[in-house]
């Protein structure tokens, strides 16, 4: 069963948000989504300086077998993207909550987010 990390919040579109209220929020996709996609070979991220809107698409994640839109779980300005994951998208499979993070946003507003417990329950993940 795919791992759901306890201290994060999740969107129903499978993005995780790491926000402690002190700085930009880190965003990635859950292990549930990464496992379902299969081996990820390409990721298209929003540009630094662009504004993303909660619930709207802001990029895409492509595996050998399928492609999936990336939805912004929060609204705000993108302040950093993970260049490592752009050059080595397999990091999303191997370490979705760590080295496979995607981008950071200076959050203005959060979209509707689930707790780790709620997300795990809804998606068959393992806390």
């Amino acid at each position: 069963m795919s791992k759901v990390k306890a201290e994060l919040k999740y969107s129903k579109e499978h993005e995780w948000v790491a926000a402690d209220g002190t700085g930009p929020a880190g965003i990635g996709i859950s292990a549930v989504a990464a496992d379902a996609l299969g081996d990820i070979v390409y990721v298209d991220l929003p540009e630094v300086g662009s504004t993303v809107t909660a619930g709207e698409t802001c990029g895409e994640v492509e595996s050998t077998k399928s492609v999936s839109d990336l939805y912004a779980p929060v609204t705000g300005e993108v302040v950093e993207i993970n260049d490592d994951v752009v050059s080595d998208p397999a990091l999303i499979n191997s370490d979705p909550y760590g080295a496979g993070w995607l981008f950071k946003v200076a959050v203005i507003d959060e979209g509707p987010l689930l707790s780790a417990e709620e997300y795990a329950a809804a998606n068959g993940g393992e806390l």
């Binding site: 299969g38 492509e62 050998t64 499979n93």
Partner: protein
């Protein structure tokens, strides 16, 4: 959800496979990483459960003449021990299935249709058999099919075959088959496959399949053999430029547009189902000067095309993608597509509409990947 499980289902579950419905069967999609499985087949070896494929025996004094009538190829021309890739067409030239037939004797053929088409092929064979002295017997439910594919496939098999029969395997030609003693059972071994690599397919009764599967895996441990699922099978066959029924081939298509004109033996003696329509399509130049043609496309960017995406030339629709994904071996996106013949020349620059954005692709000669011999 399909109800059909192969005789190897337990082996797949134990190996941690994730499953997918394919042609009415629950088949392993992948065991771990589909990319690792793909690379294993290109560089070492992979073992596949293909038991969803159909197996139909056609036997009797008229077997050869009957298959010449029922299929578009000249099956009577192949000697016993050889196999032939052919098509079963409708009267209008539409493709019912692409299939391999093995001649096992003067009056004996094993016909292997795709899983999802087995019922249709069987029904058509029975219907077309009227007036021929043949017996058509479906043994799909009792027969498993295990493939070992990759550069190390031969060495792995030899480990399970008595020394005095080794030459049967080492001398077995591509698209040939022989009865060989494998793991102490006499089985039909064919040098065929759907990966673009050297490899073998073994027909085995269901009850013997699990033991054979495990013996092959054990024999292949030192040779890098791992189980591979349908995800890897699909990416391997796409790189090798091989059509998949339902993607590139259908009842609405025809052999000439699909680049399978040479498979149609218009000059063979006697009538065959679809002859008139196919002859008309050929003389009209379908697939060469008229209509659409199946081509290979490579992506100049990193984003991959997928089935049903529109193919554009100067923003006008000129075709549709049938299969596409990032090529694990080559490292860039590859796709097959039907395009209008005037845009089918290798080197032609075309765009594919990737979810609203036109991305540049180029027509190339198939296959995308060819192994070094």
């Amino acid at each position: 959800m399909s109800e059909n499980y192969t005789a190897l289902h337990e082996q797949h579950q134990k190996a941690g496979a994730s499953f997918t419905d394919f042609g009415g069967w629950q088949m392993p999609l992948k065991y771990g990483s589909e990319l690792a499985e793909h690379h294993a087949v290109r560089n070492a070896a992979g073992i596949f459960d293909l038991s969803h494929m159909g197996e139909v025996w056609v036997t009797g004094p008229d077997a050869a003449a009957f298959l010449d009538y029922a299929l578009v190829g000249k099956l009577s021309a192949i000697p016993a021990g050889k196999a032939k890739y052919s098509l079963m067409c409708q009267e209008d030239g539409g493709i019912i299935d692409d299939l391999i037939s093995y001649r096992r004797g003067e009056d004996k053929y094993l016909v292997v249709p795709n899983a999802g088409n087995t019922k249709a092929v069987l029904a058509a064979l029975v219907q077309r058999a009227d007036g021929y002295d043949v017996k058509v017997e479906d043994v799909s439910a009792e027969t498993s099919l295990i493939a070992v594919q990759g550069p190390n496939a031969e060495a792995i098999l030899l480990g399970l075959i008595p020394a005095e029969q080794h030459s049967l395997v080492t001398e077995l030609k591509y698209y040939a088959a022989a009865a060989v003693e494998i793991n102490s059972q006499e089985l039909l071994l064919a040098r065929t496959g759907y990966t673009g690599e050297d490899g073998f397919e073994i027909y085995v009764p269901n009850e013997q399949a699990p033991v054979l599967w495990e013996a092959l895996l054990e024999a292949g441990t030192d040779q890098g053999l791992i189980p591979a699922g349908l995800a890897a099978r699909d990416s391997l066959r796409l790189e090798a430029g091989m059509p998949l029924y339902g993607n590139e081939l259908s009842r609405h298509g025809n052999p000439y547009s699909a680049g399978l004109g040479p498979v149609v033996a218009l000059s063979k003696e006697g009538d065959f189902v679809g002859k008139e329509a196919l002859s008309t399509l050929k003389s009209a130049g379908v697939g060469t000067s008229k209509g659409q043609k199946l081509v290979g496309l490579i992506g100049l960017g990193r984003r991959a095309a997928r089935g049903h995406y529109p193919v554009l030339k100067d923003r006008s629709l000129v075709g549709e993608v049938t299969s596409g994904q990032p090529s694990p071996t080559l490292g860039y996106p590859v796709a097959m597509a039907y395009v209008d013949v005037q845009h089918a020349e290798p080197g032609t620059a075309l765009d594919i509409d990737l979810r609203g954005k036109a991305e540049p692709f180029e027509v190339v000669t198939l296959p995308f990947y060819k192994r070094q011999k």
